[in-house]
């Protein structure tokens, strides 16, 4: 009893407090565990998270204007964009100095391309000016305003100067505004003219069609998964190969196969005409529209729905159903009240997989979507590879990512992410 009356901390064998030595042992364990996962962690960090962060940053980054035209940006600060007049000589002199340096470093066309996204025509204005300004003496050749105007009247255009001034800060929200069909005007943010609005329409279309595709996958996949899970394993394995075989086939091959099936002179239309169900001159239009995209993508994404459903259904104990029936449930009640709730985690997992894959798809919509069946990702791909407007592509991508995370969060709140199982 005397030992337990001691009030000091409990000591370990070597005399250090037990709490401390326990913490140290645990820390060692954690460190060891961390070192084990370090390769993967670093890999994910370097190849996945950092590029994403870099891409996100591109959507607001706008160093190029102030880096290439440092003097002009400073000189322009005093100019009133609503004055109705082009800036004065000091701005043009600053521009001459900047453009000469930029033309020697061959960066003047780069800034021209950047500003051309906002105001068509600036690209060639800068390209032409660079060629001439290179030969000027920026000390002695003034006044420069006349020389610029003589070169091209567009230098007197207020719109050009407003664009340079609006896009001179190092960070810009211009790309984000652009990706929701807005733009920066002289007096704040404006809605783009109707004939330039496209992105909101595409975002909405992408979400609605992805939801339809997810729904179609659930409806088609559920019975298949149920059959797979309830057949004797030998037959089930055989059928499973039928599910996996298309999964292993190249995406492009499957998409092209749908073209052959669905086009107006294709297999389905030919058969219908041959059977006399459809007149020869009234063949069904099933491709190059939303229908084509939905059919092809549902087929391509179906295995992603069936596999999680199947693995969840396999774990449902068949005696539950038998118990329900022995207690007097009809087949439907037993299914709906007992079996279905148990299979919901599989539906949840499959739906998240299919939906997230669907909103990022672009090859299939590009090939079979025509004009009404393309997704926002087709525009992102266009801006990455063709127009080279990576800032806009990054802004569109960021919005897409944010909306997916938001949906994931809502899903977690409503269904609960613990309620998602892959098996």
């Amino acid at each position: 009893m005397t030992d337990t009356t001691q009030t000091g901390p409990v000591l370990a064998a070597d005399g250090t407090p037990l709490k401390k030595s326990l913490a140290r042992a645990l820390r060692m364990q954690k460190l060891r565990a961390l070192m084990l996962i370090a390769p993967l962690l670093l890999f994910v960090l370097i190849t996945f998270l950092l590029p994403i962060a870099d891409m996100l940053f591109r959507s607001v980054e706008n160093n190029i204007v102030s880096d290439t035209l440092p003097n002009t940006v400073v000189a322009l600060e005093d100019w009133d964009p609503n004055s109705g007049e082009a800036p004065g000589e000091e701005v043009f002199a600053a521009l001459a100095v900047d453009l000469k340096a930029a033309a020697e470093a061959k960066t003047h066309t780069k800034v021209g391309t950047r500003l051309n996204y906002e105001n068509p025509g600036i690209s060639s204005l800068f390209r032409k000016a660079g060629r001439k300004v290179k030969k000027w003496d920026t000390e002695a050749d003034g006044p420069f305003k006349e020389k610029f105007l003589e070169m091209d009247d567009a230098w007197g255009d207020i719109g050009v100067w407003q664009t340079i001034q609006t896009y001179s800060p190092k960070l810009t929200n211009g790309y984000f505004l652009n990706s929701v069909d807005l733009k920066k005007g002289n007096d704040g943010i404006e809605v783009r003219p109707e004939n330039e609005r496209i992105y909101i329409r595409l975002f909405i279309r992408t979400f609605i069609m992805s939801l339809i595709i997810t729904g179609a996958c659930i409806v088609l996949g559920y019975p298949v998964a149920w059959i797979l899970a309830n057949l004797p394993s030998r037959t089930a394995n055989l059928l499973m190969i039928l599910v996996l075989l298309p999964f292993w086939t190249s995406l492009l091959v499957r998409t092209s196969a749908w073209k052959v099936m669905l086009q107006q002179q294709g297999v389905i239309n030919e058969t219908l005409v041959w059977l006399g169900l459809v007149a020869d001159d009234a063949r069904l239009v099933m491709i190059n529209n939303q229908f084509g995209t939905i059919v092809a993508m549902t087929h391509i994404l179906l295995p992603f729905m069936i596999l999680p459903m199947y693995s969840v259904m396999q774990t449902i104990n068949p005696s539950y159903l038998r118990a329900a029936k022995s207690l007097g449930a009809t087949n439907w009640t037993a299914f709906w009240r007992v079996y279905f709730p148990n299979s919901v985690p599989g539906i949840g997992a499959g739906s998240i997989l299919v939906f997230i894959l669907a909103i990022g798809y672009y090859i299939t919509p590009e090939l079979v979507g025509g004009t009404k069946g393309v997704f926002i990702s087709n525009r992102i791909a266009f801006h990455i590879s063709t127009s080279l407007n990576w800032g806009l592509a990054a802004a569109l991508g960021t919005i897409l990512l944010a909306v997916v995370l938001l949906l994931y969060w809502t899903y977690d709140k409503i269904v609960g992410i613990d309620n998602v199982k892959l098996g």
């Binding site: 025509g121 690209s123 496209i198 002179q265 590879s385 080279l388």
Partner: protein, 368 residues
Amino acid sequence: MKLSKLSVLVATTALCAPAAFAEEMANEMTLVSWGGAYQASQVKAYVEPYLEMNPGLKVIWDESSAEATAKMRAMAEAGNITWDLVDAVASDAMRMCDEGLIEEIDHDAVLAPAPDGTPPSEDFGELLVSDCFVPQIVYSTTFGYRTDLVGDTPPTSVCDVFDLEKYPGKRALQKRPIDNMEWALYCDGVAKDEIYDVLSTPEGVDRALAKLDTIKDQVVWWTAGAETPQLLADGEVVMGSTFNGRLFSAIAEQGQPIGMLWDMQSFDLDGWVVPAGLPADRKARVMDFLKFATDTQRLADQAKYISYGPARKSSAPLVGKHAELGIDMAPHMPTDPANATNVHVYDYEWWADNRDDLDAKFQAWLAK
């Protein structure tokens, strides 16, 4: 023992004398092209003869020209350029030149003169649309039609594409504003030399889109050049635009019932660009190859394999017969006088300025 001595020797020479190696040419070269029949014609016409002259050289092909601009920018940002010579269309070359991704080339200093001594700048003439670009071929975007689906009066004018009464059925057009906007305005009655002036105004853009609206329901929009020949072969469309070489192979090599509509064909250029910032030995190799591959005879040889016109004036008289089919190639060239009676001259400068703006409007119109 011998081997290790040798490797030490090689290592030390390499370390001590990088300057001495500067004029040496690399013995490996990565070329980027489009794949398919076009790349095959380059292999036969340029690369195989060059390899005979330089037996130690290793040539690696990368079929990435379609996404060359994006990949070049990514390489430049990463500071690791793995390509030595890239095949690109003129508008992409201008974009890359503006971005500083490719070398400026002094055409007269780098390229071979014509056999009669004409300097390259004159021999290529106005086709040198950018300081960074060495043109190889002139190709055209033009229409092909199904000879069996157009009745007794085949189309003769590009405006027949817009005439749904005379030629009912679907048409294939490229999913981009370039060419389509010009054809639409031309067929709406705008004079050929005023097309770009009209298109520079918002009303002009609306007018072009309104004209395209009249056939919008009947258009299949393509993105890859191979789609139109396939659509024509399947009978999915009555007529469609694509690159003339694609139509040539559908007609001459596959014997499809397709006719050529050369009216208002839109000339475009394809050629070589050199990535900026190559190491000296690789650059020396590339420049040597470039000089060989774009000389008069080589450009004429390429026309044996594909129906694209050589970019040099001096090559035109040397164009002969198809290497396998034995047919005379000249009548299949977009530049042949019989085919080029009414051509549309594509304005690179104008499109470089207005491409982003018009593309936004065009895509918004498509999505409506």
